[in-house]
């Protein structure tokens, strides 16, 4: 008698967002809108690949924080790929968000990150 197997399929939607250049007050609204669209489409896991970000200010940071906040409500997660440029990483250290966001080495290994 065949064993009874119950299967449950989960689909985890992960999006990798890799901005290039400055993520400042001018670019932040674009990034925010993009993230909202992903939330709408059911994405719960976000990877922000900041490796090519040359500058991050508090407006850019605010987008990351708001996404983190919302994923937590949706039982999602946020991972950061750490910026190579000091002008981008500086603010994360200053505000101690480096201790809040979990980071991964590279966006190439995304599935393992969760």
């Amino acid at each position: 008698m065949p064993i009874e197997i119950k299967t449950t399929e989960y689909t985890l939607k992960i999006v990798v967002i890799a901005p290039q250049g400055r993520v400042d007050a001018f670019e932040a609204p674009t990034l925010r809108k993009m993230c909202e669209a992903y939330f709408e489409s059911g994405v719960t896991h976000f990877v922000f690949d900041l490796s090519e970000v040359t500058m991050l200010d508090s407006a850019g940071l605010a987008v990351l924080v708001s996404v983190l906040k919302r994923t937590r409500q949706n039982e999602g997660e946020v991972r950061l790929v750490w910026p190579k440029h000091e002008a981008a990483s500086r603010i994360l250290k200053l505000t101690k968000f480096d201790q809040v966001f979990q980071s991964i080495e590279s966006s190439q290994i995304v599935p393992k990150g969760f």
Partner: protein, 634 residues
């Protein structure tokens, strides 16, 4: 000549004649020099019997015909003498009257001429007036003047019914000039064709100029009266012509001086009107030409993104030739320094030599030149010295030294390879580039100012600003040379290396995109000052946060509003100042704290970030403006 006058005394003669007839005479005649000038009765055959009365000189005789009684002889003589006396007096009266009338005519004519002449300031107008009036007064066909400024060809003006060729009038004046005692010419053998008669007189002007006036072709002949009048006119007009000549010369001289003055103004305008300012360098230049125009030049040119260029030079020779070449050299040098992609002085000098060699060779002149560039970032001075002296370097520590010229002046050899030398400077170092008008200035005793005195003066002046040093040196040379006239142009450039201090001010619209303009300006300024990259990043982030706050809170994102930004580096600190006219910032700086990241606040980090990054953060609300000042040691 009583014959002309006897008619005036016809009645007297008649009375005497009638008296003689009553005592028996048949006819009475008055005879002057054997010629009858009066008789009564008119037609009568002579009787042989006669008494002849004579005056004392025997020139006048009274013939009494039909009487021979010797008793009447003495009465006849007395009567003749009396008649002779009356007629003589009459003649003198007549002559006196004629002379008076003539004098009066002449006076009126001269008066009119003088009056008109006074209004004629220009020599040509005066001469025209003179010949027209002379012609009119002497009633002749033409008149002319000839003025010999040199011995060859006179300047001739004429006024005539039928003007004559100038050569003919020239010939007439030449004949007269041979013997100016003769005034009247009517000899058709000696006179040029077309001149039937001419009278000439000398116009008494200055010694080295011969001038004469001639009046020609009068119907009939010129009289001695005409000659007298012409001489009077000439005598009277000489002084006027001399005045007009003086005036004309003064006018020409004034015009020349005006043109020289204009040339000088052009030259002065070509010298830098303002000295560019450069952070880290106090530089000044000035020039004092010896004559109205000079052969020295200098220039100081700030070039965007490239080291500052300064140059100084001296064209051989003085006056207009040197001035013309100076203008050319200076323009070529400026263009080479400004428009060519040359970064090294030797390239500019070589270019000058190539461009100007032909022109300089043609006139056998040349120019010395000192051209330097100064880069305030690494404080390096590059210079090329084409025969310029003196160049004095006074390091802040150590003895002043004379930098000898390494290369030959420009305009001598084609393809000469000029070189650049380098000097690394520190704040306080002074470089003085001057022309030899300084050290070669002389005093009344003939002594030269010399290099020793120049160095000594500079030692005392070195503590002053670049301008103070230059002014001081000008003064030292002036004091030395006293009232001895300045022989040569004096031109100087003084460089004094200073601590750098730089600021940049601008306005940006209150839009997030425009904040990047400020970021770029800040980054450039700090990079220029070789500030560490990490420090630049911190400063940029702090300013970005401040400007974002202003856009968001003060102006509520209204892009029509402007934010004033001033960035200043004073050697050790960066000062960022902003002014905006938005809502007064309501913030207590001392109670700002970084939000706990675990709270996941989506805002409120800005001011805390600024305070974490900067050494000082100040806010004031003044004159309806928010004034933010951020300071950071760099």
């Amino acid at each position: 000549m009583f014959a002309d006058l006897i008619h005036l005394h016809q009645n007297d003669f008649q009375t005497i004649a009638e008296a003689w007839i009553r005592v028996g005479a048949q006819a009475i005649r008055l005879v002057e020099h054997g010629e009858m000038i009066a008789s009564m009765p008119k037609d009568i055959s002579f009787s042989k019997k006669e008494i002849i009365g004579r005056n004392a000189s025997g020139s006048l005789e009274l013939h009494i015909h039909g009487m021979n009684d010797g008793a009447w002889q003495s009465i006849a003589d007395a009567m003749t003498e009396l008649f002779s006396h009356v007629l003589t007096t009459e003649t003198e009266m007549e002559e006196l009257t004629a002379s008076l009338v003539e004098t009066q005519d002449k006076l009126v004519a001269l008066y009119e001429l003088t009056q008109s002449a006074r209004r004629a300031l220009k020599i040509d107008d005066l001469l025209d007036l003179l010949i027209q009036e002379s012609r009119r007064l002497l009633d002749a066909d033409g008149a002319f003047t000839a003025i010999y400024f040199n011995n060859h060809r006179p300047q001739i003006r004429q006024s005539a019914i039928e003007p004559l060729p100038e050569a003919h009038l020239h010939a007439a004046s030449t004949i007269y000039r041979k013997d100016t005692r003769r005034h009247n010419f009517k000899d058709s053998m000696t006179l040029p064709r077309g001149l039937s008669n001419v009278i000439m007189s000398t116009l008494p002007v200055r010694e080295n100029v011969f001038a004469c006036i001639g009046v020609f072709n009068k119907t009939g002949d010129f009289t001695s009266h005409d000659i007298k009048l012409l001489r009077a006119i000439a005598e009277q007009s000489g002084a006027q012509i001399d005045n007009a000549l003086l005036y004309q010369e003064a006018l020409a001289r004034t015009r020349f001086e005006t043109e020289m003055d204009l040339a000088r103004q052009v030259q002065i305008a070509l010298l830098p009107q303002s000295i560019p300012t450069l952070d880290g360098l106090d530089i000044y230049g000035a020039s004092a030409p010896a004559s109205q125009v000079g052969g020295d030049f200098f220039d100081i040119i700030a070039r965007k993104g490239q080291p500052l260029v300064f140059m100084l030079g001296d064209i051989t020779g003085k006056g207009m030739p040197a001035a013309l070449l100076m203008t050319m050299t200076r323009t070529t040098a400026r263009s080479a320094a400004r428009n060519m992609p040359f970064s090294r002085p030797d390239q500019i000098v070589k270019r000058l030599n190539t461009d100007l060699l032909d022109d300089f060779s043609t006139v056998s002149m040349f120019s010395t030149a000192f051209i330097g560039t100064f880069d305030p970032v690494n404080r390096s001075l590059l210079f090329s010295n084409a025969g310029q002296s003196p160049i004095l370097f006074m390091p802040v520590q150590g003895e002043p030294q004379l930098l000898e010229a390494q290369d030959i002046p420009i305009g001598i050899f084609e393809d000469y390879e000029y070189i650049s030398q380098t000097l690394s400077l520190v704040p306080g170092d002074v470089l003085v580039a001057a022309t030899d008008g300084f050290n070669e200035s002389r005093n009344n005793a003939g002594e030269m100012f010399g290099m020793e005195r120049m160095l000594l003066a500079l030692k005392h002046l070195r503590g002053l600003s670049a301008r103070g040093i230059a002014d001081g040196l000008f003064k030292a040379v002036n004091n030395f040379s006293e009232d001895h006239p300045q022989d040569d142009d004096r031109t100087i450039i003084v460089l004094k290396v200073s601590e750098r201090m730089e600021s940049v001010s601008f306005q940006i619209p209150a839009g997030y995109e425009d904040l990047r303009i400020a970021a770029k300006a800040l980054r450039e300024l700090l990079m220029l000052h070789k500030v560490q990259e990490s420090v630049i990043n911190n400063c940029e982030l702090a300013m970005q946060e401040l400007l974002s706050n202003i856009v968001e809170h003060s102006y509520s994102g209204n892009k029509d509003k402007m934010i004033e930004v001033r960035l200043q580096v004073d050697g050790k600190r960066l000062i960022i100042e902003t002014r905006d006219s938005g809502i007064p910032a309501n913030i207590k700086l001392e109670s700002v704290a970084m939000p706990d990241p675990l709270e996941l606040q989506v805002g409120g980090y800005g001011m805390a970030i600024i305070q974490a990054l900067m050494d000082e953060v100040q806010h004031q609300y003044k004159n309806e403006k928010n004034l933010w000042t951020l300071t950071k040691k760099i």
